[in-house]
Symmetry: C2
Subunit: 240 residues, 2 copies
């Protein structure tokens, strides 16, 4: 029997649509940095959306770093290269179809080495059996996925994300796992590609390798292993 797959149909709210519309205008260059936005009442008239929702959308865009709102003066397009946060970057990548530029990819990998590398080092130097058990449990989940004849790449990406966030979590640094959460959509995309390029088994094997190096207390070894795999990925990316 032929099974039809439609999947979940998400109904976007008006607020979401308005946010995306304005993001688009800004990122496409139709609205430039410093340009003033129409007043909330003008937007209300244009879009036939209530002022309450308009206001909520503008506040969300401000939190994302796209706008600069001054009470009783209006909103202007913010210099999002300066005031932006990771959410701004996520929105930029999402509007680009989920694809990063090469420079962004290199920046991302550099940031990954800086953060996860520091976590790896620290965890190798100082860890408990509980830390190791925590990571092993996640590895087991990855192994379970590998046993299927057609491993689910999305599910495996999720597990790999949790594994590497686990490294940050168990490093004892309270900031590192939160930073990884900020990167989440970008990291998930990265793992999907990595699985597509190097295969599912290879990625899980690498994860196990980190665990061995941590258990052995080899901080420098773990760090260099990360550097090496990053460079492999980047050189593979540059070839395309």
């Amino acid at each position: 029997m032929l099974e039809m797959q439609i999947g979940v149909i998400e109904v976007p709210t008006r607020k979401t649509l308005l946010v995306q519309k304005i993001e688009e205008q800004i990122l496409s260059g139709k609205l430039r940095v410093g340009d003033p936005l129409p007043s909330e009442r003008q937007l209300q008239e244009e879009t036939h959306i209530s002022k309450t929702v308009i206001h909520a959308a503008l506040v969300e865009l401000e939190q994302k770093g796209f706008l600069e709102i001054t009470p009783r003066r209006g909103a202007i397009v913010a210099n999002y290269t300066e005031s932006g946060t990771m959410e701004t970057l996520n929105a930029r990548i999402r509007l680009n179809g989920g694809n990063m530029t090469k420079k962004q990819s290199h920046s991302f990998m550099e940031a990954r080495i800086a953060i996860e590398g520091a976590a790896l080092r620290r965890l190798a130097e100082r860890h408990t059996d509980e830390d190791l058990a925590y990571l092993e449990a996640i590895i087991d989940q990855a192994d379970a996925l590998l046993e299927q004849k057609e491993p689910d790449a999305a599910a495996l990406s999720e597990v790999l994300f949790r594994y590497h966030r686990g490294i940050c979590l168990r490093s004892g640094n309270e900031f590192f796992p939160l930073l990884l959460n900020e990167f989440r959509p970008i990291i998930m995309e990265f793992w999907l590609r990595s699985i597509a390029v190097f295969g599912a088994a290879s990625n899980v094997h690498l994860a196990k390798r980190y665990l061995e190096l941590i258990r052995a207390g080899d901080a420098e070894g773990a760090f260099h292993r990360l550097e090496r795999s990053v460079n492999e990925y980047l050189s593979c990316l540059d070839e395309q």
Copy 2:
């Protein structure tokens, strides 16, 4: 004449108060991860605040990573160690009177070394005259503040933040300055303390020292200078 300083009196909105109240309940443990919140209408009845405002508050808490809202089902307390971002942490610190725990301070400094250290290294290895001029211009602003007999600590903190973000910006990595923006409130608090402890002049002098090391192309020197100043600050903190 004796000048009395009162400062700006901010009138908190109902929305703000409600957000803080719920944050408090969550962080104090009265509301645990997975617990359902009362419906918006129940909250309306309890608090005598209109549903629009209630709704806006809940959405803000969702963006901060404290809640998980499902349309037509309700809101539950999110696992903020899983879904939390830097904003969650900022909220936690703010509710603690703006004071970080010692562990948080150490985590922060470690993260700073990881990120800003990488930026310093890269900028020292590869920079243009324009990069140097950019940073010099910010240093000049700091010097201008120093010339006043009673330097404004808040203004100087702002300049120091822009300076160090400038280092990340000019490093060429697109992620680093965004990460610093996420840290912003924490970093500002840090500079205020650093100025209080070591003095304004000392902090500006240190900033100039980084510039010299960058100009000389001394990547390792710049990195170790950062490590050293971080350790000085931390040991000073531990004494208290």
